[in-house]
Symmetry: D2
Amino acid sequence: MLSASVDIRVRYKETDKMGVVYHANYFTWFEVARVALLDELGCPYADLEKADYFLPVLSCSSTFHSPAFFDDRLQVIVKIEKLPIVRIEAFYEVKRKDEIIATGITKHAFVSSQGRVVRPPSDFVELARAKFTG
Amino acid sequence: MLSASVDIRVRYKETDKMGVVYHANYFTWFEVARVALLDELGCPYADLEKADYFLPVLSCSSTFHSPAFFDDRLQVIVKIEKLPIVRIEAFYEVKRKDEIIATGITKHAFVSSQGRVVRPPSDFVELARAKFTG
Amino acid sequence: MLSASVDIRVRYKETDKMGVVYHANYFTWFEVARVALLDELGCPYADLEKADYFLPVLSCSSTFHSPAFFDDRLQVIVKIEKLPIVRIEAFYEVKRKDEIIATGITKHAFVSSQGRVVRPPSDFVELARAKFTG
Amino acid sequence: MLSASVDIRVRYKETDKMGVVYHANYFTWFEVARVALLDELGCPYADLEKADYFLPVLSCSSTFHSPAFFDDRLQVIVKIEKLPIVRIEAFYEVKRKDEIIATGITKHAFVSSQGRVVRPPSDFVELARAKFTG
């Protein structure tokens, strides 16, 4: 399994007039966690793009159990539970201390800059395999 | 059934360095369509909030079939297929001409400003019932 | 003089926990107005980018006289007062009915995809000149 | 003088199709720095709002010297150079290593939840005065 965790401090910009974080912003936090996971794997996302590999979001979902507020210190945990071959499925938890306030899933595929689905780069596959079998 | 449709022209701000619309922004378009649906029902969302009824997003999901680009003219269609009693489930389609480029679902409940789940306002229920039986 | 006007309906996403529109979002509305101005000139911004001309924002400012609220219907007016040669300076007013609730300025230069400052495309210059002398 | 500095890692969401950070997003980073400055002063902004003091942005401006890119590690420095009595003026620098890539200014006043301009809370004034004379 691959996993990573990032600390998020809620920005004022991320709140709405209900006084809580606007739901769509959780997906940006998921992105931040995903980028950290690729860092930890040794395949920073910026490097992937330089090598003409892109990881667009094919679908995403989130369930909000409890609102997040301005200035909350949150932890966003991301996990990839199956060795990614063609598709990547990432699972997220947003925690405030011990409370899980939201969960989510994003699905991805590697595509080239032409938008064509491609096999993941061999570096990525090897590093991921090492983590899964390690 | 309740339904509404809004025209969206993609803003530059909504794109990302992949040259396409960042996925989280579709949820904002869903919001725009939802607000239009409540207008058409005769229950503008701004009025609901003035009467202390809020409709937070409990969960949301979206699937992206084809990317949206800067300056695209899109149509976002929203439908509520079951008479909303306590929970509201809304379905979305994002179309570019005849092509459905994305779909989505959001789920909501009426809550008070205190965050307590409440029954929908009677006006809303009557107007919705008229549409479903009409 | 070049000018254009767009109608904006305030999105929930654009509000913050103060119950008003977050200040940075006005710059997105300015973008929407700017795009409309280029449309009216006959030089849609999307076409300019296809021809390898980009108009990044070099600087921007805004003054907020009165807050904007969710669901407000606003008018954003943009004006270019001097024939753009190398630099373009655009002036904005955000109006709610007759009240000017915000003003702003953005400055731009044409650059290539390489980031080099370039002369504006000749089409653009001719169309702009016709408007200024017409 | 009051000052603070925050580290920002550029999010994918913050980029646009030009491949760089969309200009309006710098104002959100300024907010993050401002919040850190109030923390360091001993007056966290969340506490100010709980005591019915709000600091809306009255005007803001920014100049962009060099673009910021996805995954850039930036430093945002904020300074308040004059003891704030009624108005607060904050100055910002965005740095990538030693290079200043953007500068900005925001102006604020303390207002109540009713939107009325009020004198700053006495705690704030005392803490600020101690920093300026200390």
